[in-house]
């Protein structure tokens, strides 16, 4: 097994700021827009973006939710392990709102498909967009593409993209791991 650094701490920092600016360009003051981080790893991206938008760009208030997709996944009973759920916390209505779904890595698209189904339990949004930090090309099982992407990566099936965060793993860094 070998691993190489895909993005360093500094590069992640720059990319997050760029993504925050892109969100700002489309959603201005976020009065009719909500951010939803997908559990378990998308929440770190969502929280960082939220913080940048508030502290650097003076956005007064952003609705930020976290969504667990376990009960909506299409691989229930298909693997060896029981799928373990995590917390969902969406304290606002998404009816007629612009929703930005946020995840760390877009791979097959199945997680996002489950997230879109899960979202229906919270109302009918006006529009749903997708933001991912890493977009793995050539690996989609479903016709799903991000509206905002941090970095596009060519990775083959045996490889794994691992995103680490300072608040959870001690440092901000993204690896490409070859088996």
């Amino acid at each position: 097994m070998s691993q190489k650094i895909l993005l360093s701490s500094k590069e992640i920092h720059i990319i997050l700021h760029r993504l925050a600016c892109q969100l700002l360009e489309n959603h201005l003051d976020f009065t009719n827009t909500v951010l939803i981080g997908i559990q378990p790893r998308g929440i770190f991206v969502a929280e960082r973006l939220c913080e940048i938008l508030k502290t650097k760009y003076g956005v007064a208030h952003i609705d930020l939710g976290v969504l667990d997709i376990t009960f909506y996944r299409d691989d229930f009973r298909r693997g060896d392990k029981t799928l373990e759920a995590t917390k969902t916390k969406i304290n606002f209505l998404i009816e007629d709102k612009n929703v930005v779904l946020i995840d760390d890595v877009l791979y097959t698209g199945r997680s996002i498909n489950a997230a879109l189904t899960a979202l229906q339990s919270f109302g009918r949004p006006a529009e749903v967009e997708l933001l991912t930090l890493i977009d793995r090309r050539f690996s989609r099982h479903l016709p799903i593409q991000p509206n905002y992407r941090g970095r596009q990566v060519d990775a083959i099936d045996g490889e794994k993209v691992k995103v680490l965060w300072k608040e959870n793993d001690g440092e901000d860094i993204i690896y490409l791991i070859k088996k």
């Binding site: 667990d68 009960f71 909506y72 029981t82 917390k87 969902t88 189904t117 339990s121």
Partner: protein, 308 residues
Amino acid sequence: MSELSVHHLLGIKYLKETDIQLIFETADHFKEVINRSIKKVPSLRDITIANIFFENSTRTKLSFELAEKRLSADVLNFSASQSSVTKGETLIDTVNNILAMKVDMVVMRHPNPGAGIFLSKHVNAAIINAGDGAHEHPTQALLDSYSIREKLGDVAGKNVLIVGDILHSRVALSNIFALKLQGAQVKVCGPKTLIPKHITSLGVGVVSDLKTGLEWCDVANMLRIQNERLDISYFPTTREYTKQFGVNKELLNSLDKEIVIMHPGPINRGVEITSDVADSKQAIILNQVENGVAIRMAVLYLLASKIK
């Protein structure tokens, strides 16, 4: 630990402490789901569940059925009184006929102790015991402990008093197993005739005086006098039972702390518990019912994920 150590839920006796924690953690997530405006998830969309009830039930049957529907399972309902069982069909034949229609899980209530265990050895489906005679009622014990955990933060270290007909109660036995497994202290209280002879071998204390028991406990679980199971007279009159083992407001007010009152239902108001207690803030009887759906969703989800 991320999966159950068992393939069936036949009794608390067969569970490990980690199984109970996993069920509770999963139930937390389902509780959030059932408080949404859209209360349904698609997890069990390819699972068919038969609810087979050889004995009457209102809340358990409704609770299981609701849990199954909230998980998007297909549900078959069967009650023995309207079936071929009255024509002499055996239990295995009845269930195998139902399974021939491609059923994956069976929720069963039966008047005979061990019916679920017997069935699990002879048919190829995940079995959930919804009460087998005077033996066990595992989902009730799980939702009782879950409700204590929700109200008091933890089950470990708490003193729980179970009052009433311990001899005929499957709720009492399952509760004793579950509470002991989680590190709570348990005492039982009731007429001597309704306390099993060797109950202390389960690590349970016995108190004969209700007030002494209530002063000791953090939680009192008031059981119903099961008149349908009382084949002989175990106490002189209902009035005398109420006088010695019924909880009323004055009795609770005379204690130096506020204890939590639980009841598995159905309540005989004015017998084991008065209306003013049952409807008071101290009683978490309706929370138990709400938690019952979340607990059953968790059990169904975790067992279904082990069906290959």
